[in-house]
């Protein structure tokens, strides 16, 4: 066990524990806080994977924008501090079974693949310039220029759409 492995195990345990709390917490704001903890753990994993840029983006986009938006929506749609009664629907056990079956299937496949050694590990260090390469690839017509433009359109459409949907009809006069 190296220090890195111990770090990974601790972070992974924290991520899983808070993820479970996200789906089980009764108080929705607490669930959102656990979601933030999960996302933060994910950012640490990205650092472990030497993708510091993605870790920073994770914190900006997920915690700084999405999580805050979710908390905002919870505050808007709930009366403050009143989360009583069951938070799961009547068929929650079916969902649990399905999720467990899915986990078992993936774990079995993973185990099989891992035993056969099917992952062709590259075993080369990550180049220092990978961030610059990513930037160039995102605007290069040979790589991801069109996806980037499509994402831009998607975000613009999403923004206009969400304003149009959430707008109060009565305000229009």
């Amino acid at each position: 066990m190296t220090g890195l492995q111990i770090t990974f195990l601790v972070v992974a345990a924290a991520i899983l524990a808070s993820a479970v709390l996200v789906v089980t917490a009764r108080n929705l704001v607490h669930a959102a806080l656990w979601l933030i903890a999960t996302l933060f753990g994910m950012a640490i994993l990205f650092v472990l994977l030497q993708a510091g840029f993605l870790a920073a983006v994770q914190v900006v986009v997920y915690i700084g924008a999405i999580a805050i938006l979710i908390i905002f929506a919870i505050m808007l749609t709930r009366r403050v501090m009143q989360d009583t009664g069951p938070q799961t629907n009547s068929q929650w056990w079916l969902g649990g079974l399905l999720a467990a079956a899915l986990l078992a299937a993936i774990a079995y496949t993973l185990f099989r693949v891992d035993q056969q050694g099917a992952f062709p590990l590259a075993n080369v260090p990550i180049p220092d310039s990978s961030l610059a390469e990513l930037g160039k690839a995102l605007v290069s017509p040979d790589f991801y220029m069109i996806p980037l433009v499509v994402i831009g359109v998607l975000l613009a459409v999403g923004m206009v759409g969400s304003i149009a949907i959430a707008r109060d009809e009565r305000e229009k006069e």
Binding site: V60, I63, G64, A65, M75, L131
Partner: protein, 426 residues
């Protein structure tokens, strides 16, 4: 001499030599990292003791008062006395409050500001850590502050605190957009100067250390202004103190906080304001660069602090001189004025820099061209917005002719001067 040119390095080597006698190398580097973090954190936490005094004295002068001048020489220890008072106060947690979140929020507020100092370079060899994504890191830890204020407002279980939390979302999340857009410009300009890693704070400073016209303040004044305005809005201070507007929602998000928990929000706010000054100094005013800094790197700390305090002075001046902005004006200013101008400025700067590159026209003319491009964008923006404001005013007047007594349902913004791009006609 070696110590004077690289004090941190000398201390680090000495400590490493001391520790490696009885610790494995991994543990030594871990201990050094923790010590470094403690030093940066302690520095950040003690600075507000001075900042608060400085700001109160300065505001006092601006308002024709004396300001605190009793405790210690010139009132220098007033903040220490205040901190002792806060510590001895009763620590109240409201009954309906969400205890964990309520106690977590002030800590998060301080941490989010403190962690920014990890990447701000004080001199060429004095920096917490020179991340290759430093500029992005600043944005990402800054967004945690929003979360802290919002959670503090929610967990207090008080309607005014909740209103403050709602305003926080409206204001802080919105003003992150022009701030991030403005941050693109120093990175862009640094990379066109030719540094290897334009997102690292240290190299942004290095890109500005050549001559006076290399400062990004001169190359991109619009980005500087917009970054400044948006960052001041991010700190939540006057004129953008809607989140704690005393006369409207009592004290906003921190209404229920008492004792040192309130003190932590207070410290976070002052430290954040100074951090904005430090960021402006680093990103636009050349950070530690200045004359003779190659011979004596420690001189860089002096230059950096001078520049940071100059920017901080501007922030205090804004706080003392401007009244609180109305909430719809605050949103309009962001979405209809800052964001479009910043987008136009990014395009103008990028195109100009590509059309008249440093390599062919030389650094000075490149800077002049960039300044001219900024000026053109500024003139167009001011013309456009004043035309739009005039149009709105006329539409307003045709509905409520001047002279007639304003009806009860008349636009309540009628008597307030509309900001650049005024609110939509009702």
């Amino acid at each position: 001499m070696e110590f004077l040119s690289n004090p941190i390095g000398v201390i680090r080597d000495w400590l490493a030599g001391l520790l490696s006698g009885f610790l494995p190398p991994d543990a030594v580097s871990l201990v050094l990292v923790i010590l470094g973090a403690l030093v940066v954190g302690a520095l950040g936490l003690t600075t507000p003791l001075f900042l608060i005094w400085y700001e109160r004295r300065l505001i006092g002068r601006m308002q024709d008062r004396v300001g605190p001048n009793r405790v210690g020489p010139e009132g220098l220890f007033q903040t220490v006395a205040d901190a002792l008072k806060l510590l001895s106060k009763e620590d109240i947690t409201p009954i309906g409050a969400d205890k964990i979140v309520y106690n977590l929020a002030p800590i998060m507020a301080v941490v989010s500001v403190l962690t920014m100092w990890a990447v701000i370079p004080l001199a060429v060899n004095i920096v917490g850590t020179d991340l290759n994504i430093g500029v992005l890191y600043i944005v990402s830890v800054g967004s945690l502050g929003t979360l802290a204020i919002m959670l503090g407002g929610w967990a207090s279980n008080n309607k005014y605190a909740l209103l403050g939390a709602f305003r926080t979302v409206a204001q802080l999340v919105c003003y992150e957009v022009p701030m991030i857009l403005a941050l693109i410009v120093p990175v862009l300009l640094a990379s066109s100067v030719g540094v290897a890693n334009p997102m690292s704070m240290q190299e942004v400073v290095a890109a500005q250390s050549g001559a006076w016209h290399e400062w990004f303040l001169f190359k991109a004044p619009i980005a500087f202004l917009i970054f400044f305005i948006a960052s001041v809005a991010e700190t939540g201070r006057a004129p953008f103190d809607l989140l704690e507007a005393e006369s409207e929602i009592v004290a906003g998000f921190n209404i229920e906080y008492s004792g040192m928990k309130f003190g932590m929000f207070f410290v976070a706010e002052f430290l954040h304001a100074f951090t904005v000054g430090a960021l402006v100094a680093t990103l636009f005013l050349g950070g530690w660069s200045g004359p003779f800094v190659e011979q004596a790197p420690l001189l860089g700390v002096v230059y950096f602090i001078l520049k940071a305090f100059a920017a901080y002075f501007l922030i205090i001046l804004m706080r003392a001189a401007l009244p609180r902005i109305r909430i719809d004006h605050m949103l309009d200013l962001n979405w209809k004025f800052l964001v479009p101008i910043m987008l136009a400025a990014i395009v103008a700067i990028a195109v100009t820099d590509k059309a008249l590159p440093r390599a062919t026209v030389g650094p000075l003319w490149n800077a002049v061209a960039l300044f001219a491009a900024n000026l053109v964008v500024a003139v167009i923006a001011v013309n456009w917005t004043s035309a739009a404001a005039r149009q709105m005013r006329q539409a307003d007047e045709s509905r409520n002719p001047p002279g007639a007594a304003p009806a009860a349902s008349a636009d309540h913004g009628h008597d307030a001067p509309a900001p650049a791009a005024s609110h939509a006609a009702h």
